[in-house]
Amino acid sequence: MSKQEWPLYEVFVRTRSGLSHRHAGSIHAADDQMALDNARDTYTRRSEGVSLWVVRSDRIVASDPAESAAFFEPAEDKIYRHPTFYDVPDGVENL
Protein backbone atom coordinates (compact mmCIF):
# COMPACT_ATOMS: atom_id res chain seq x y z
CA MET A 1 0.00 0.00 0.00
CA SER A 2 1.46 3.33 -1.01
CA LYS A 3 1.73 5.87 1.78
CA GLN A 4 1.67 8.89 -0.46
CA GLU A 5 0.28 12.14 0.92
CA TRP A 6 -2.10 13.91 -1.44
CA PRO A 7 -0.68 17.18 -2.73
CA LEU A 8 -1.60 20.47 -1.10
CA TYR A 9 -3.64 23.03 -3.03
CA GLU A 10 -4.17 26.70 -2.21
CA VAL A 11 -7.77 27.85 -2.48
CA PHE A 12 -8.89 31.25 -3.79
CA VAL A 13 -12.51 32.38 -3.59
CA ARG A 14 -14.30 35.14 -5.50
CA THR A 15 -17.07 36.13 -3.11
CA ARG A 16 -19.14 37.88 -5.79
CA SER A 17 -18.62 39.11 -9.30
CA GLY A 18 -16.75 42.39 -9.42
CA LEU A 19 -14.31 41.33 -6.70
CA SER A 20 -11.00 39.56 -7.20
CA HIS A 21 -10.29 36.06 -5.94
CA ARG A 22 -8.90 35.99 -2.43
CA HIS A 23 -6.86 33.36 -0.66
CA ALA A 24 -9.06 31.34 1.72
CA GLY A 25 -6.85 28.48 2.88
CA SER A 26 -5.66 25.17 1.58
CA ILE A 27 -6.81 21.59 1.13
CA HIS A 28 -5.36 18.24 0.11
CA ALA A 29 -6.64 16.37 -2.93
CA ALA A 30 -5.50 13.57 -5.21
CA ASP A 31 -6.18 15.56 -8.37
CA ASP A 32 -7.41 18.90 -9.67
CA GLN A 33 -11.10 18.00 -9.85
CA MET A 34 -11.09 16.64 -6.31
CA ALA A 35 -9.30 19.80 -5.22
CA LEU A 36 -12.16 21.91 -6.59
CA ASP A 37 -14.80 19.68 -4.97
CA ASN A 38 -13.03 19.65 -1.60
CA ALA A 39 -12.46 23.41 -1.75
CA ARG A 40 -16.18 23.93 -2.41
CA ASP A 41 -17.18 21.72 0.53
CA THR A 42 -14.60 23.23 2.88
CA TYR A 43 -14.64 26.93 2.05
CA THR A 44 -18.06 27.75 0.54
CA ARG A 45 -20.60 25.90 2.68
CA ARG A 46 -22.52 29.14 3.21
CA SER A 47 -22.51 30.54 -0.32
CA GLU A 48 -19.27 32.42 0.28
CA GLY A 49 -18.27 32.24 -3.36
CA VAL A 50 -19.31 32.43 -7.00
CA SER A 51 -15.97 31.22 -8.36
CA LEU A 52 -13.09 29.11 -7.07
CA TRP A 53 -9.46 28.79 -8.06
CA VAL A 54 -7.27 26.00 -6.77
CA VAL A 55 -3.57 25.78 -7.49
CA ARG A 56 -0.96 23.28 -6.39
CA SER A 57 0.99 24.91 -3.55
CA ASP A 58 4.30 23.72 -4.96
CA ARG A 59 3.59 25.66 -8.17
CA ILE A 60 3.50 28.99 -6.37
CA VAL A 61 6.63 31.10 -6.56
CA ALA A 62 6.87 33.33 -3.52
CA SER A 63 9.17 36.13 -2.44
CA ASP A 64 11.30 35.45 0.62
CA PRO A 65 10.26 37.49 3.70
CA ALA A 66 13.81 37.41 5.03
CA GLU A 67 14.88 39.29 1.89
CA SER A 68 11.87 41.56 1.67
CA ALA A 69 13.74 44.76 2.60
CA ALA A 70 16.18 44.35 -0.29
CA PHE A 71 13.56 42.94 -2.62
CA PHE A 72 11.19 45.88 -2.26
CA GLU A 73 13.92 48.49 -1.83
CA PRO A 74 13.66 49.86 -5.41
CA ALA A 75 10.24 51.29 -4.54
CA GLU A 76 11.40 52.94 -1.33
CA ASP A 77 13.24 56.02 -2.68
CA LYS A 78 10.82 57.07 -5.41
CA ILE A 79 8.59 59.29 -3.36
CA TYR A 80 7.88 61.41 -6.46
CA ARG A 81 5.57 58.58 -7.55
CA HIS A 82 3.06 59.69 -4.92
CA PRO A 83 0.84 62.69 -5.56
CA THR A 84 1.60 64.03 -2.09
CA PHE A 85 5.20 64.71 -3.25
CA TYR A 86 3.99 67.78 -5.15
CA ASP A 87 3.04 71.08 -3.57
CA VAL A 88 -0.13 72.40 -5.08
CA PRO A 89 -0.28 76.20 -4.74
CA ASP A 90 -3.30 77.69 -3.01
CA GLY A 91 -5.93 78.66 -5.47
CA VAL A 92 -5.36 75.78 -7.87
CA GLU A 93 -8.46 73.61 -8.07
CA ASN A 94 -9.31 70.21 -9.51
CA LEU A 95 -5.72 68.92 -9.54
Partner: protein, 330 residues
Protein backbone atom coordinates in the same frame (compact mmCIF):
# COMPACT_ATOMS: atom_id res chain seq x y z
CA UNK B 1 -0.24 31.80 1.87
CA UNK B 2 0.04 28.26 3.01
CA UNK B 3 3.06 27.05 1.08
CA UNK B 4 5.03 25.52 3.87
CA UNK B 5 7.13 23.10 1.81
CA UNK B 6 9.82 25.50 0.75
CA UNK B 7 10.38 27.64 3.79
CA UNK B 8 11.73 25.02 6.16
CA UNK B 9 15.00 24.44 4.34
CA UNK B 10 15.52 28.14 3.75
CA UNK B 11 15.06 29.19 7.34
CA UNK B 12 17.24 26.30 8.45
CA UNK B 13 20.02 27.74 6.26
CA UNK B 14 19.57 31.14 7.87
CA UNK B 15 19.85 30.05 11.49
CA UNK B 16 21.82 32.59 13.48
CA UNK B 17 25.39 31.47 13.92
CA UNK B 18 26.18 33.05 17.25
CA UNK B 19 24.41 33.88 20.48
CA UNK B 20 24.43 37.64 19.92
CA UNK B 21 22.75 37.30 16.57
CA UNK B 22 20.25 34.87 18.05
CA UNK B 23 19.38 37.30 20.84
CA UNK B 24 18.94 40.13 18.34
CA UNK B 25 16.68 37.98 16.20
CA UNK B 26 14.55 37.05 19.22
CA UNK B 27 14.32 40.69 20.24
CA UNK B 28 13.26 41.75 16.75
CA UNK B 29 10.65 39.01 16.73
CA UNK B 30 9.23 40.10 20.10
CA UNK B 31 9.19 43.71 18.88
CA UNK B 32 7.03 42.68 15.92
CA UNK B 33 4.66 40.86 18.28
CA UNK B 34 4.52 43.85 20.64
CA UNK B 35 3.71 46.11 17.69
CA UNK B 36 0.72 43.81 16.94
CA UNK B 37 2.25 42.75 13.63
CA UNK B 38 1.07 39.37 12.40
CA UNK B 39 3.64 36.63 11.93
CA UNK B 40 3.25 34.80 8.63
CA UNK B 41 4.20 31.28 7.61
CA UNK B 42 7.55 32.00 6.03
CA UNK B 43 8.71 34.62 8.53
CA UNK B 44 11.51 33.83 10.95
CA UNK B 45 10.16 32.62 14.31
CA UNK B 46 11.70 31.03 17.40
CA UNK B 47 11.49 27.26 17.36
CA UNK B 48 9.54 27.30 20.65
CA UNK B 49 6.91 29.60 19.10
CA UNK B 50 6.59 27.23 16.14
CA UNK B 51 6.33 24.17 18.41
CA UNK B 52 3.78 25.82 20.71
CA UNK B 53 1.60 26.72 17.75
CA UNK B 54 1.88 23.29 16.16
CA UNK B 55 0.84 21.72 19.45
CA UNK B 56 -2.05 24.10 20.03
CA UNK B 57 -3.42 24.26 16.47
CA UNK B 58 -3.18 20.51 15.89
CA UNK B 59 -4.88 19.79 19.24
CA UNK B 60 -7.56 22.25 18.25
CA UNK B 61 -7.99 20.50 14.88
CA UNK B 62 -8.13 17.07 16.53
CA UNK B 63 -10.82 18.35 18.90
CA UNK B 64 -13.00 19.37 15.97
CA UNK B 65 -12.54 15.97 14.34
CA UNK B 66 -13.16 13.91 17.48
CA UNK B 67 -15.96 16.33 18.39
CA UNK B 68 -18.00 14.95 15.49
CA UNK B 69 -18.45 11.65 17.34
CA UNK B 70 -20.60 12.55 20.36
CA UNK B 71 -22.99 14.49 18.11
CA UNK B 72 -22.82 12.00 15.25
CA UNK B 73 -24.21 9.53 17.78
CA UNK B 74 -27.63 11.22 17.45
CA UNK B 75 -27.76 11.83 13.70
CA UNK B 76 -29.91 8.80 12.99
CA UNK B 77 -32.11 9.38 16.03
CA UNK B 78 -32.79 13.10 15.80
CA UNK B 79 -36.43 13.77 16.80
CA UNK B 80 -37.43 15.40 13.50
CA UNK B 81 -36.18 15.87 9.96
CA UNK B 82 -35.51 19.54 10.72
CA UNK B 83 -33.32 18.68 13.71
CA UNK B 84 -31.55 16.00 11.71
CA UNK B 85 -30.74 18.36 8.84
CA UNK B 86 -29.45 20.99 11.29
CA UNK B 87 -27.32 18.46 13.16
CA UNK B 88 -25.87 17.12 9.91
CA UNK B 89 -24.89 20.65 8.90
CA UNK B 90 -23.30 21.23 12.29
CA UNK B 91 -21.31 18.02 12.23
CA UNK B 92 -20.13 18.86 8.71
CA UNK B 93 -19.04 22.27 10.02
CA UNK B 94 -16.93 20.55 12.68
CA UNK B 95 -15.16 18.58 9.95
CA UNK B 96 -14.62 21.84 8.09
CA UNK B 97 -13.18 23.50 11.20
CA UNK B 98 -10.79 20.60 11.58
CA UNK B 99 -9.66 21.10 7.99
CA UNK B 100 -9.15 24.87 8.33
CA UNK B 101 -7.03 24.22 11.40
CA UNK B 102 -5.01 21.35 9.95
CA UNK B 103 -4.11 23.55 6.99
CA UNK B 104 -3.11 26.39 9.35
CA UNK B 105 -0.87 23.97 11.29
CA UNK B 106 0.66 22.70 8.07
CA UNK B 107 2.01 26.18 7.32
CA UNK B 108 4.34 25.62 10.29
CA UNK B 109 6.01 22.68 8.59
CA UNK B 110 4.20 19.67 10.05
CA UNK B 111 2.51 17.30 7.60
CA UNK B 112 -1.14 16.29 7.71
CA UNK B 113 -0.19 12.63 7.84
CA UNK B 114 2.06 13.27 10.83
CA UNK B 115 -0.73 15.04 12.72
CA UNK B 116 -3.20 12.26 11.97
CA UNK B 117 -0.66 9.66 13.08
CA UNK B 118 -0.08 11.56 16.35
CA UNK B 119 -3.82 11.65 17.04
CA UNK B 120 -4.29 7.95 16.36
CA UNK B 121 -1.28 6.90 18.42
CA UNK B 122 -2.57 8.92 21.37
CA UNK B 123 0.52 11.16 21.35
CA UNK B 124 -1.54 14.25 20.51
CA UNK B 125 -4.35 15.38 22.79
CA UNK B 126 -7.78 16.76 22.01
CA UNK B 127 -10.28 18.61 24.18
CA UNK B 128 -11.27 16.65 27.30
CA UNK B 129 -14.95 17.44 26.76
CA UNK B 130 -15.36 15.00 23.87
CA UNK B 131 -14.64 12.05 26.13
CA UNK B 132 -18.08 12.32 27.71
CA UNK B 133 -21.00 10.29 26.33
CA UNK B 134 -24.17 11.69 24.73
CA UNK B 135 -26.82 9.56 26.38
CA UNK B 136 -29.94 11.55 25.47
CA UNK B 137 -31.10 13.94 22.75
CA UNK B 138 -30.92 16.77 25.30
CA UNK B 139 -27.15 16.28 25.34
CA UNK B 140 -27.06 17.60 21.77
CA UNK B 141 -28.73 20.76 23.04
CA UNK B 142 -26.33 21.01 25.99
CA UNK B 143 -23.29 20.54 23.76
CA UNK B 144 -24.32 23.28 21.36
CA UNK B 145 -25.28 25.68 24.11
CA UNK B 146 -22.48 25.01 26.62
CA UNK B 147 -19.60 23.34 24.80
CA UNK B 148 -19.81 25.53 21.73
CA UNK B 149 -20.49 28.50 24.00
CA UNK B 150 -17.30 27.81 25.93
CA UNK B 151 -15.44 27.26 22.66
CA UNK B 152 -16.59 30.66 21.40
CA UNK B 153 -15.20 32.33 24.55
CA UNK B 154 -11.85 30.72 23.83
CA UNK B 155 -11.89 31.27 20.10
CA UNK B 156 -12.92 34.89 19.75
CA UNK B 157 -9.64 36.17 21.22
CA UNK B 158 -7.79 33.70 18.97
CA UNK B 159 -9.04 35.68 15.96
CA UNK B 160 -6.43 38.26 17.08
CA UNK B 161 -3.70 35.71 17.68
CA UNK B 162 -0.23 36.80 16.51
CA UNK B 163 0.09 33.98 13.99
CA UNK B 164 -1.70 35.06 10.80
CA UNK B 165 -2.85 31.70 9.38
CA UNK B 166 -4.28 30.62 12.79
CA UNK B 167 -6.01 33.97 13.30
CA UNK B 168 -7.60 33.83 9.84
CA UNK B 169 -8.78 30.26 10.35
CA UNK B 170 -10.37 31.31 13.65
CA UNK B 171 -12.27 34.18 12.02
CA UNK B 172 -13.87 31.63 9.72
CA UNK B 173 -14.58 29.23 12.61
CA UNK B 174 -16.13 31.90 14.83
CA UNK B 175 -18.53 33.01 12.08
CA UNK B 176 -19.93 29.49 11.97
CA UNK B 177 -19.77 28.77 15.67
CA UNK B 178 -22.60 31.07 16.67
CA UNK B 179 -25.01 28.98 14.56
CA UNK B 180 -23.84 25.98 16.62
CA UNK B 181 -24.51 27.67 19.93
CA UNK B 182 -27.91 28.98 18.93
CA UNK B 183 -29.13 25.64 17.58
CA UNK B 184 -28.11 24.10 20.91
CA UNK B 185 -29.93 26.73 22.93
CA UNK B 186 -32.94 26.27 20.67
CA UNK B 187 -33.05 22.55 21.51
CA UNK B 188 -32.79 23.35 25.24
CA UNK B 189 -35.51 25.98 24.92
CA UNK B 190 -37.91 23.58 23.23
CA UNK B 191 -37.25 20.86 25.80
CA UNK B 192 -37.55 23.19 28.77
CA UNK B 193 -40.90 24.49 27.47
CA UNK B 194 -42.10 20.97 26.77
CA UNK B 195 -43.58 18.27 29.00
CA UNK B 196 -42.22 17.76 32.54
CA UNK B 197 -40.27 14.75 31.25
CA UNK B 198 -38.72 16.82 28.47
CA UNK B 199 -37.78 19.55 30.93
CA UNK B 200 -36.23 16.91 33.18
CA UNK B 201 -34.17 15.69 30.23
CA UNK B 202 -32.85 19.22 29.69
CA UNK B 203 -32.00 19.56 33.39
CA UNK B 204 -30.26 16.19 33.40
CA UNK B 205 -28.12 17.16 30.39
CA UNK B 206 -27.21 20.47 32.05
CA UNK B 207 -26.25 18.62 35.24
CA UNK B 208 -23.83 16.39 33.37
CA UNK B 209 -22.33 18.97 30.94
CA UNK B 210 -21.95 22.05 33.14
CA UNK B 211 -18.82 21.10 35.06
CA UNK B 212 -17.00 19.49 32.13
CA UNK B 213 -17.72 22.70 30.17
CA UNK B 214 -16.02 24.77 32.87
CA UNK B 215 -13.06 22.41 32.71
CA UNK B 216 -12.66 23.16 28.99
CA UNK B 217 -10.92 26.42 29.91
CA UNK B 218 -8.05 24.46 31.42
CA UNK B 219 -6.42 24.54 34.85
CA UNK B 220 -6.47 27.58 37.13
CA UNK B 221 -4.03 30.30 36.10
CA UNK B 222 -1.71 29.40 38.97
CA UNK B 223 -1.42 25.85 37.60
CA UNK B 224 -1.28 26.61 33.88
CA UNK B 225 2.20 25.85 32.63
CA UNK B 226 2.07 27.33 29.10
CA UNK B 227 0.14 30.50 29.84
CA UNK B 228 2.76 33.18 30.51
CA UNK B 229 4.82 32.56 27.39
CA UNK B 230 1.71 32.24 25.20
CA UNK B 231 0.50 35.59 26.52
CA UNK B 232 3.86 37.23 25.80
CA UNK B 233 3.69 35.87 22.26
CA UNK B 234 0.06 37.04 21.95
CA UNK B 235 -1.10 33.57 21.04
CA UNK B 236 -3.30 33.84 24.10
CA UNK B 237 -5.00 37.11 25.03
CA UNK B 238 -6.87 36.20 28.20
CA UNK B 239 -6.08 33.74 30.99
CA UNK B 240 -8.01 30.52 31.60
CA UNK B 241 -9.69 31.91 34.71
CA UNK B 242 -10.70 35.17 33.01
CA UNK B 243 -12.35 33.31 30.15
CA UNK B 244 -14.04 30.83 32.49
CA UNK B 245 -15.49 33.69 34.57
CA UNK B 246 -16.76 35.40 31.44
CA UNK B 247 -18.44 32.19 30.34
CA UNK B 248 -20.14 31.70 33.72
CA UNK B 249 -21.32 35.32 33.75
CA UNK B 250 -23.04 35.07 30.38
CA UNK B 251 -24.38 31.53 30.77
CA UNK B 252 -26.05 31.63 34.20
CA UNK B 253 -28.72 34.15 33.08
CA UNK B 254 -29.40 31.94 30.04
CA UNK B 255 -30.04 28.97 32.34
CA UNK B 256 -32.38 31.19 34.38
CA UNK B 257 -34.27 32.03 31.21
CA UNK B 258 -34.64 28.33 30.45
CA UNK B 259 -35.90 27.76 33.99
CA UNK B 260 -33.06 25.32 34.65
CA UNK B 261 -30.78 25.17 37.68
CA UNK B 262 -27.00 25.07 37.51
CA UNK B 263 -25.73 22.00 39.39
CA UNK B 264 -23.68 24.13 41.78
CA UNK B 265 -24.83 24.80 45.36
CA UNK B 266 -22.15 27.44 45.80
CA UNK B 267 -23.23 29.51 42.80
CA UNK B 268 -24.27 33.06 43.76
CA UNK B 269 -24.19 36.52 42.28
CA UNK B 270 -21.57 38.84 43.75
CA UNK B 271 -23.27 42.20 43.20
CA UNK B 272 -20.21 44.24 44.22
CA UNK B 273 -17.96 42.58 41.67
CA UNK B 274 -20.71 42.04 39.12
CA UNK B 275 -19.73 38.39 38.72
CA UNK B 276 -21.23 35.02 39.47
CA UNK B 277 -19.11 33.14 42.03
CA UNK B 278 -19.04 29.42 41.48
CA UNK B 279 -17.96 26.34 43.39
CA UNK B 280 -14.68 24.46 43.24
CA UNK B 281 -14.03 22.46 40.08
CA UNK B 282 -13.13 18.79 40.50
CA UNK B 283 -9.67 19.04 38.97
CA UNK B 284 -8.95 15.39 39.54
CA UNK B 285 -11.72 14.57 37.09
CA UNK B 286 -10.12 16.80 34.43
CA UNK B 287 -6.68 15.28 34.96
CA UNK B 288 -8.14 11.78 34.77
CA UNK B 289 -9.90 12.51 31.49
CA UNK B 290 -6.76 14.12 30.03
CA UNK B 291 -4.73 11.11 31.16
CA UNK B 292 -6.99 8.91 29.05
CA UNK B 293 -9.37 7.64 31.73
CA UNK B 294 -12.54 9.53 30.85
CA UNK B 295 -15.76 7.64 30.10
CA UNK B 296 -15.19 7.51 26.30
CA UNK B 297 -11.47 8.07 25.59
CA UNK B 298 -10.92 4.54 24.34
CA UNK B 299 -14.08 4.46 22.26
CA UNK B 300 -13.30 7.82 20.60
CA UNK B 301 -9.84 6.79 19.44
CA UNK B 302 -10.98 3.36 18.33
CA UNK B 303 -13.74 4.86 16.25
CA UNK B 304 -11.35 7.38 14.67
CA UNK B 305 -8.91 4.60 13.88
CA UNK B 306 -11.70 2.55 12.35
CA UNK B 307 -12.89 5.48 10.21
CA UNK B 308 -9.30 6.00 9.08
CA UNK B 309 -8.89 2.33 8.18
CA UNK B 310 -12.29 2.13 6.49
CA UNK B 311 -11.34 5.11 4.33
CA UNK B 312 -8.03 3.66 3.19
CA UNK B 313 -9.41 2.06 0.03
CA UNK B 314 -11.01 5.37 -0.96
CA UNK B 315 -7.72 7.21 -0.60
CA UNK B 316 -5.91 4.53 -2.55
CA UNK B 317 -8.51 4.47 -5.32
CA UNK B 318 -8.40 8.27 -5.66
CA UNK B 319 -4.62 8.17 -5.87
CA UNK B 320 -4.68 5.35 -8.44
CA UNK B 321 -7.20 7.30 -10.53
CA UNK B 322 -5.06 10.44 -10.34
CA UNK B 323 -1.95 8.51 -11.36
CA UNK B 324 -3.75 6.89 -14.28
CA UNK B 325 -5.22 10.19 -15.47
CA UNK B 326 -1.79 11.84 -15.23
CA UNK B 327 -0.19 9.00 -17.18
CA UNK B 328 -2.87 9.22 -19.88
CA UNK B 329 -2.36 12.97 -20.21
CA UNK B 330 1.42 12.65 -20.50
Amino acid sequence: MYTQGLDQKESAGKRPVDAVEAAEQLQAFQARIDAEEKIEAKDWMPEAYRRTLIRQISQHAHSEIIGMQPEGNWLTRAPSLKRKAILLAKVQDEAGHGLYLYSAAETLGVSRDQMVADLLSGKAKYSSIFNYPTVSWADIGAIGWLVDGAAIMNQIPLCRCSYGPYARAMVRVCKEESFHQRQGFDIMLELSRGSPRQKAMAQDALNRWWWPSLMMFGPNDSESKHSAQSMAWKIKRFSNDELRQKFVDVTVPQADFLGLRMPDEALRFDADAGHYRFGEIDWQELFDVIAGNGPCNKQRLEKRQQAHDDGAWVREAAQAYANKAAAAAA
